[in-house]
């Protein structure tokens, strides 16, 4: 056990699995000697050599395309996209290829790869260093989407993702990279994919969230407990696709009141799916409008980012609204 930040836990996860499994390798822009712009891959080249952790040309299309080919031929590549905002040149390789190769080849070829990428706001990065694109990917059959919110989960989910036989997009909330430390076991362990985690227990309001919104929601839950003695069940989704639908529905049914929180724009965001799922399968238990607290339907601004991103106060308002309905 060591106390690690989330980004250190990612680094430790990579190191642990690379020690165990020769077929795991890391590639991307600046992941080599520099160790990545956030240091998620620090010292991996030193430790495992250039064959196992290497810098690539500046081409996301190439990083993913080459990664897909390696994965089909016995390797388990972990490809880094420096910022999620820069994943779009690789969109075709991800949604048309990685996600569909098992299907279109009847399982003859498969793509056990992981795409790691930091996402979300919190670093004054403006339009292009702040985005949260999870909905684009969760809408793509064949792709798994995983987002950790704690150091422990980051390492365990990452290892589970690398060991998974299908392509996984692993989105890391950069706002939490160094936000806090937590005890993280050394060596290999997995946190099972497609299982939500209840951050707080409660039966008055269900709050669904993931990534950097988890501490924001937990804060709001604490405040409503203090102010009105209401118990909020904060549910950290952890895996967005395939979603643990039963746990989501259960929480919605247990509480009857629902708030959904994410940084990405509201319109056609991931929250829409959660809401629709509940409106389709648990509406009889719902006692208030299903509220979404999300980024606005605009590009991500720079100077005003703290006014754009959902904060505890906005979440609190939504919780009060559904309580008072």
């Amino acid at each position: 056990m060591t106390e690690l930040t989330l980004v250190q836990a990612v680094n430790d996860g990579l190191r642990s699995i690379m020690k165990e499994d020769d077929s795991v390798l890391v590639m991307g822009e600046d992941v080599g000697p520099k160790g990545g712009v956030f240091l998620a891959t620090e010292k991996l080249t030193d430790e495992f050599g250039e064959e196992r952790c290497f810098d690539t040309p500046l081409s996301e299309d190439g990083i993913i395309g080459v990664g897909v080919g390696m994965a089909m031929n016995g390797m388990k590549p972990v490809c880094e996209i420096q910022f999620q905002d820069f994943i779009f040149p690789a969109f075709d390789q991800i949604v048309s290829e990685a996600a569909k190769i098992r299907y279109r080849s009847g399982g003859q070829y498969t793509v056990p790869m992981v795409i790691r990428t930091p996402y979300g706001g919190g670093i004054k990065g403006g339009l292009y260093h702040s985005q949260s694109g999870e909905a684009y990917f969760a809408h793509t059959p064949g792709l798994k989407v995983v987002i950790p919110s704690t150091p422990y989960d980051a390492k365990g989910l990452l290892i589970a993702s690398i060991n998974d036989p299908d392509p996984v997009l692993f989105m890391e909330p950069k706002a939490l990279y160094r936000a806090f430390r937590e005890d993280v076991p050394s060596g290999i362990y997995e946190v099972e994919l497609s299982k939500t985690r209840n951050v707080t227990e409660g039966g008055d309001v269900a709050v669904f969230c993931y990534g950097a919104m988890v501490p924001v929601c937990t804060d709001a839950a604490k405040r409503i407990k203090d102010s009105r003695n209401k118990d909020v069940r904060v549910v950290d989704l952890r895996t967005l696709m395939p979603l643990d639908e039963e746990s989501v529905l259960q929480a919605a049914r247990d509480c009857g009141r629902v708030v959904i929180v994410h940084e990405a724009p509201r319109f056609c965001g991931y929250g829409a799916e959660l809401s629709a799922l509940i409106a389709e399968r648990a509406i009889e238990s719902i006692e208030a409008p299903i509220k979404r607290v999300a980024g606005f339907d605009t590009p991500f601004p720079n100077t005003l980012e703290n006014y754009y991103m959902p904060d505890a106060r906005r979440v609190l308002d939504a919780i009060e609204e559904v309580l008072d309905f």
Partner: protein, 371 residues
């Protein structure tokens, strides 16, 4: 750079140094071209009678695929071909019936009826990676396959192919660039058949050739007569040797001409000059190889006719057998999305099967594919 490697001239006379090849190999090359023509014929008939939706004529370009196929070794090499490469599969003894299974999208199709026709996928008897419709995507993937071989210290190489139009895609650029940097053991073979559907090469790029694009990636570029199977063989086998020796990738441009439409639904008379077709008819890759094989004593007219008849029968039988098979079962819509079928897909599968068990209203209509 605009120099064109040729071994057999248009009449089949040797004008360059012929590679030393066993008779078996030469005849297999020849046969794979003949099989391709028979396959094409059969597909055209099936499409005209509405039994399949689509195929891509290979007429005129077969020597590219046949010559290249012969240069690779399926016991250690991988193929990442594109759709206009039938002879490559025949050369390596892919079963025609399995190919027709894909043309019909039936229950024995390796692609489980999920892909359009001509999107083959095989692992046996050779690794022919699943063909994708989005063009150029296989190029960086093939580089990844090759890098995996190199990473494990294997001596295999990868052959990937694509059309002239596809050199404009992002995959071409990223794939060749990565291959250059990591000296991946790979052969890039561009089938320059002068058209991308209706768009002539003039509109594709201003570069003086496709082979010269190799310069942008620090690898050798070779231009070869694509209607000359021996020349293609030679270029690909030299490149494969380089790859195996750790010297890195090669880009080969095989200059040829697509004699038919882009596909069975395309009418090239709207955009291809009739004179051009006439000119290229004289360069027929089949006759050229045949003449030379006969002149070398490897083949006789009689044997050639027999091979053609065998191929025609083989394709008819294979098509009939494939046609007789049923379509894939409904549940196959939901499998192979992930290794395990997750709960949400289980639920969808169940309701889909139930829905159609109760009332089979969905009708199988003929597919009229537009391009």
């Amino acid at each position: 750079m605009s120099e064109l490697l040729q071994i057999l001239d248009e009449t089949g006379k040797k004008v360059g140094k012929a590679p030393r090849l066993k008779r078996d190999v030469l005849l297999q090359m020849y046969r794979s071209i003949v099989q391709t023509r028979a396959f094409d014929d059969r597909c055209m008939k099936l499409q005209r009678t509405g039994r399949i939706g689509f195929s891509v004529p290979n007429l005129g370009i077969e020597a590219v695929s046949a010559g290249a196929a012969a240069a690779m070794d399926p016991s250690r090499d991988w193929f990442a071909p594109y759709y206009r490469d039938f002879a490559m599969l025949f050369y390596h003894n892919i079963s025609p019936e399995k190919m027709f299974d894909n043309m019909f999208g039936n229950c024995e199709d390796n692609a489980v009826g999920r892909q359009m026709p001509v999107h083959f996928t095989f692992t046996e008897p050779a690794k022919f990676f699943s063909i994708s419709s989005p063009l150029g995507t296989q190029i960086p993937q093939a580089v990844g396959m090759a890098m995996a071989m190199k990473n494990r210290g294997e001596d295999g190489a990868v052959l990937t192919t694509f059309g002239d139009g596809t050199t404009s895609s992002s995959g071409f650029h990223s794939g060749l660039n990565f291959a250059g940097v990591y000296k991946a053991p790979i052969v890039f073979l561009c089938q320059n058949n002068q058209f991308a559907i209706s768009c002539h090469s003039d509109k594709q790029t201003a570069s003086e050739s496709y082979a010269i694009k190799a310069k942008a990636y620090g690898m050798p570029g070779v231009r070869v007569d694509g209607n000359d199977a021996l020349a293609v063989y030679k270029a690909v086998s030299d490149a494969a040797k380089r790859a195996r020796e750790g010297k890195g990738p090669t880009l080969i441009e095989a200059y040829t001409f697509r004699m038919g439409g882009h596909s069975t639904s395309d009418d090239p008379s709207r955009y291809v000059d009739a004179d051009l077709i006439k000119k290229w008819q004289k360069r027929d890759p089949l006759m050229r190889l045949r003449n030379w094989l006969i002149s070398e004593g490897h083949l006789t007219d009689e044997r050639a006719e027999e091979i053609a008849e065998e191929a025609a029968d083989e394709m008819k039988n294979a098509a009939d057998a494939a046609h007789a098979k049923s379509r894939p079962v409904l549940g196959t819509i939901f499998t192979d999305v992930f290794e395990k079928v997750p709960p949400h897909l289980e639920a969808q599968m169940e309701s889909c099967i139930k829905h159609h068990a109760e009332r089979d209203e969905a009708v199988d209509e003929k597919g009229e594919f537009p391009l």
